[in-house]
């Protein structure tokens, strides 16, 4: 008779209400959905989950040694409010809706100048930016035996930006429910109406532009014994339209020109995720790796390790570390000494070569039908974390911290 493992009740309790429809363990879909996925374990099928999360994102200031003015400059901060409702629509269907409201403020990198020694120094946007974002994302799932189909739709709105998206996803359990094949296709359309576009102050800034994105993925998840699950998926994204940043400029041989990027982009991402139960410690290890490549010449690696530790009295602790490294876009330069034949210019730090490291700690606590959570993250980017040596570091590379607090109620 095999030893029967005691269920890890505290973390189960702590996280049950937070799992929503995210469970996709192969072969366990139906059971897992009943146990935790949607979102109540043994609760009636008409149960409902409500989740509220507050997050405060705060970028560290940019040092005076990296700015053209020689003065420290403030950067961005964002206050986010997230709301989720997840509920059953019937014995085989469920619905999840996520709403987000954010307020953003602060200064943003504008363009880069060479100083007297040729060192790149950052010019920040003058006035503090204030914006407001509202987003809604809805997902409906229905199960047909071993097959689950999903319909997704969403909308995001800012003062200068609107995006709408839709998609279809499906998954199929087979091989005695030990293997799950999944895939999906999606479409997004974005409209941009930059602040002060074509104005007296910014006459070259575009007044309106749009772009679209088509993406798809296919993945395979496999149970590897009784303690391990592995998933590997490949996603492909095609973007077309205005993909430049209307608020950024580039310094070109003594003049500034608009940020100008190619009109299309093809992106490939290969994501592999491992979940390993460590029964002896009542913990679960999460290990994720993503390889990324696009036809702008950027290759990136992302690795993330998280440890979900169950503790007594319905507490759980989740430390996490994430490492990221990317190469630069072909057309990126911190500044340009001469005009380019292809007409492409961008000094955006997000297209520069860099690496980043973030550390995070989450705490979860279950109180009856309520769940509480707190999380802190610190993220720092720079050449020191890059997989390859970097000659010239972009002065605008970001570091930030995030505080979040959440409360969940299941009915």
């Amino acid at each position: 008779m095999p030893p029967k493992k005691m269920p890890s009740a505290p973390l189960n309790q702590a996280l049950l209400a937070l799992t929503a429809s995210a469970l996709a363990i192969p072969g366990m879909s139906a059971q897992a959905q009943d146990l935790a996925g949607d979102p109540m374990p043994s609760a009636p099928r008409d149960s409902t989950l409500l989740d509220y999360r507050f997050s405060y994102y705060d970028e560290g200031h940019i040092a005076g040694s990296k700015t053209s003015s020689g003065q420290d400059s403030e950067r961005y901060s964002v206050e986010s409010h997230q709301f989720r409702i997840a509920t059953r629509l019937g014995p085989k269907a469920d619905l999840t809706a996520d709403a987000t409201v954010e307020t953003m403020s602060g200064a943003s990198p504008w363009f880069i100048l060479p100083d007297i020694k040729g060192k790149p120094v950052q010019v920040m946007s003058g006035a503090s930016i204030h914006d407001f974002r509202q987003a809604l994302q809805v997902r409906a799932n229905e199960r047909f035996g071993a097959v689950t189909g999903s319909v997704l739709a969403g909308y995001s709105n800012e003062r200068d930006y609107r995006g709408a998206n839709g998609g279809l996803e499906g998954s199929w359990d087979f091989n005695n429910k030990l293997t799950t094949l999944s895939g999906g296709v999606g479409y997004t359309h974005n409209d941009l109406d930059p602040t002060e576009g074509a104005s007296m102050r910014f006459p070259t800034r575009i007044a309106h532009a749009d772009n679209y994105e088509v993406n798809s993925y296919a993945g395979l998840a496999q149970v590897l014994g009784g303690e391990t699950v592995l998933q590997s998926s490949v996603s492909f994204t095609y973007q077309n339209g205005y993909l430049s940043d209307p608020y950024k400029m580039a310094y070109v041989a003594g003049n500034t020109v608009n940020d100008a990027r190619p009109g299309n982009r093809r992106k490939l991402a290969w994501v592999t995720r491992l979940r390993q139960n460590v029964a002896a410690l009542d913990a679960v290890v999460h290990l994720d790796y993503r390889y990324y490549h696009d036809d702008w010449g950027i290759t990136a690696h992302t690795a993330e390790l998280a440890w979900y530790q169950t503790l007594p009295w319905s507490w759980a602790l989740v430390p996490r570390v994430r490492w990221y490294s990317q190469s630069q876009a072909d057309f990126y330069q911190p500044y340009y000494n001469a005009a380019q034949n292809n007409g492409l210019y961008s000094s955006d730090y997000r297209l520069s070569p860099f690496g980043a490291l973030s550390e995070s700690l989450g705490v979860y606590k279950r109180l009856g039908s309520w769940n509480l959570s707190l999380r802190y993250e610190h993220y720092s980017s720079g050449s020191a974390y890059s997989i390859r040596s970097i000659e010239v570091e972009n002065p605008a590379l970001v570091r930030f911290q995030v505080f979040s607090a959440g409360i969940v109620k299941t009915f």
Partner: protein
């Protein structure tokens, strides 16, 4: 498709093939282990609201993006 994309795609197909084959070769969990596999912390994203915010933040500060889902929109992130 670039050479790099093709190479990445081939590796992806190879790994998925190996994973599939390994699943057919006696790695079946015992009945009592099903409970371990179904515990919430074994989910790909045990806290999906937090995961969505983290992903949104990384996507707005880094060049790379892409995951095993098609959901979510972009942003005019500065």
């Amino acid at each position: 498709m670039t050479q790099g994309q093709g190479r990445g795609m081939r590796w992806g197909v190879l790994v998925m093939g190996v994973v599939l084959l390994s699943g057919c070769s006696g790695m079946q969990p015992k009945a009592w282990q099903r409970g371990d596999l179904a515990q919430p912390e074994m989910a790909w994203d045990p806290d999906p609201v937090d995961a969505a915010m983290r992903q949104h933040t990384y996507d707005s500060k880094e060049a790379a993006s892409g995951s095993a889902t098609v959901g979510g929109g972009g942003c005019g992130c500065n």
